[in-house]
Structure formats: structure tokens, C-alpha cells
């Protein structure tokens, strides 16, 4: 019935993971960096669900629930840190926050 090979899904998840990585490396806007991190986590979810479906095993799906919970927790923390930064410095650009290097 469903004859798409597993490798297609995993390759797609690899491509999405790379796009997320690129976003984290290239963008300087903290909120967009944060969204790129979400793309990375979602590509992991895709990989887990494809493996779970092709192995016929539930533990991969369960892992995805926990990744979602962790993503929610991380988003709360990350946005709170961005808020604290904005309040102090009026910027959210990672480039402009560079006191420590000197």
C-alpha cells in the first residue's frame, strides 16, 4: 500500500535539519535563531516517527511527545531570556551583544 522507502523520509529530515542548522549559524536575530532551533527539533521528530512507523514500534512515537514537551519548556526559557536581554539592551541581535569577548 504505502511503498515510499524509509530513506526518503530520513533524507527529508536530514535536509530540514541542515536548514535549521544554517539558520542558527547565519541569522543574528535571536528570535529567528530560536525558530531555527524549532526546525531542528521538528526534523528530529520526523526522523523518529518514520523509524517508528517502519519498525512498527511505539517507543519512537513516545520520544516525540517528550521532544515536544522539552521544546515547549525551552521556548518558555528562551523567550524569557530574549525579553531580559531586550529590557537591558534594547536589541535582540546576537551580534550587538558582545561584551564578553574583550
Amino acid at each position: 500500500m504505502n511503498n515510499i522507502p524509509l530513506e526518503y523520509y530520513i533524507a527529508l529530515s536530514g535536509i530540514l535539519f541542515t536548514i535549521g542548522t544554517l539558520g542558527v549559524i547565519l541569522r543574528r536575530n535571536a528570535i529567528i535563531v530560536f525558530m531555527s532551533l524549532e526546525i531542528m527539533l521538528n526534523s528530529v521528530n520526523l526522523a523518529f516517527i518514520s523509524f517508528a512507523r517502519y519498525l512498527g514500534d511505539t517507543s519512537g512515537e513516545i520520544f516525540v511527545f517528550f521532544v515536544m514537551a522539552v521544546a515547549a519548556a525551552e521556548s518558555a526559557i528562551g523567550l524569557a531570556i530574549i525579553l531580559a536581554l531586550f529590557r537591558k539592551k534594547q536589541t535582540i541581535y546576537v551580534d550587538e551583544v558582545n561584551v564578553l569577548k574583550h
Binding site: N3, E7, G23, I31, N45, A71
Partner: protein
């Protein structure tokens, strides 16, 4: 060509395009909208993998909760100034691009060189219902479920510490 393959290709292209849109647009609010499209595309992909429950959760948790929070923060900070240049190619950035390209080629060639796998069983709908997943979650993975409670609590306390206005001793 069958209908499944066409659906996969269309959804895959949509997911990739919206992911690129997220990291390449100027204003964070466009990125956020693009990311919501990405989440919906992924949710549809989960349906092609016979996982309806996770597909619903994907929309509820990501598009419904996390993205609302992100959009709220964008509005709260009222960022109308665009980033000066969308993508600046500096030495470090080009290093990043090269690294990502190598990584990308590696993953795809690694995976594509494999003999293609077909699923172990054609139908896993019964395995991936909310009922069976719930029973696994509350028996085999009970300890993990308890830990995630502590984790969410720590996120609440942490977010309050970072975001509250006044320090109260």
C-alpha cells in the same frame, strides 16, 4: 508514480520551502508565519506515516502554543526595524555554510546509498492510536513522564526568574 509518492513529494517540497522561508525572510513575523506553514506540512507528513495522534499534537503544541508565544513576544518587543542585511557572508558565516553543505551531502549520500527499506508491517494504525500510546506512556515510560513534570516546573520557575520585572527579596 502513485498517490502516496505524489503526496510525499508535494508535502516535502512545501516543508523545505517553508523552512527556507523561515530562515531567509527579513522580518521575524514573516518567519513565524512561514514556520506555521512548516508545522502544518510536517503534520500532514505524519499522517502519511499513519500517525494521526502525533499529527494532531503537532498542530496543538507547536502551531497552537509555541508559535502563539513567539508571535506574542514579537508583538511585545514591537520590532519594526528590519535586520540590516538578510544574510551577511562573513568568514565565520561562510565557514558555517561550508560545514552545513558538507553535513548535508554526507547525510543524503549516506542514506541514499543504502538499499531502500520497506516497512515491516503495512498497517500500524492500531499501534499508534491515542489509547495504545497512552497505555505505553503510563506504564513503560512512567518514570520519564514523571521527570518531564519536573522539567516543565523548572521551566516555569526559570521563566519567572528571567522575565519578572522587579527583584523581590
Amino acid at each position: 508514480m502513485n498517490i502516496h509518492l505524489i503526496a510525499f513529494i508535494v508535502l516535502g517540497i512545501l516543508a523545505i520551502a517553508s523552512a527556507i522561508g523561515t530562515i531567509a525572510t527579513k522580518h521575524p513575523i514573516y518567519s513565524a508565519m512561514s514556520l506555521i506553514v512548516h508545522f502544518f506540512a510536517l503534520s500532514a507528513l505524519y499522517l502519511t506515516l499513519q500517525s494521526p495522534f502525533v499529527a494532531v499534537l503537532q498542530i496543538l503544541v507547536y502551531a497552537g502554543a509555541i508559535m502563539v508565544l513567539v508571535v506574542f513576544v514579537i508583538m511585545l518587543l514591537n520590532l519594526n526595524e528590519d535586520e540590516k542585511q538578510t544574510i551577511r557572508i562573513q568568514s565565520r558565516n561562510s565557514f558555517g555554510i561550508v560545514l552545513a553543505a558538507i553535513f548535508f551531502i554526507m547525510i543524503v549520500t549516506f542514506i541514499m546509498s543504502n538499499p531502500l527499506n520497506q516497512p515491516n508491517s503495512t498497517n500500524v494504525y492500531n499501534l499508534f492510536t491515542a489509547q495504545s500510546l497512552g497505555s505505553v506512556l503510563f506504564t513503560k515510560d512512567l518514570v520519564a513522564f514523571e521527570i518531564v513534570g519536573i522539567l516543565l516546573l523548572s521551566a516555569i520557575v526559570g521563566a519567572i526568574v528571567m522575565a519578572k520585572k522587579k527583584l523581590i527579596n
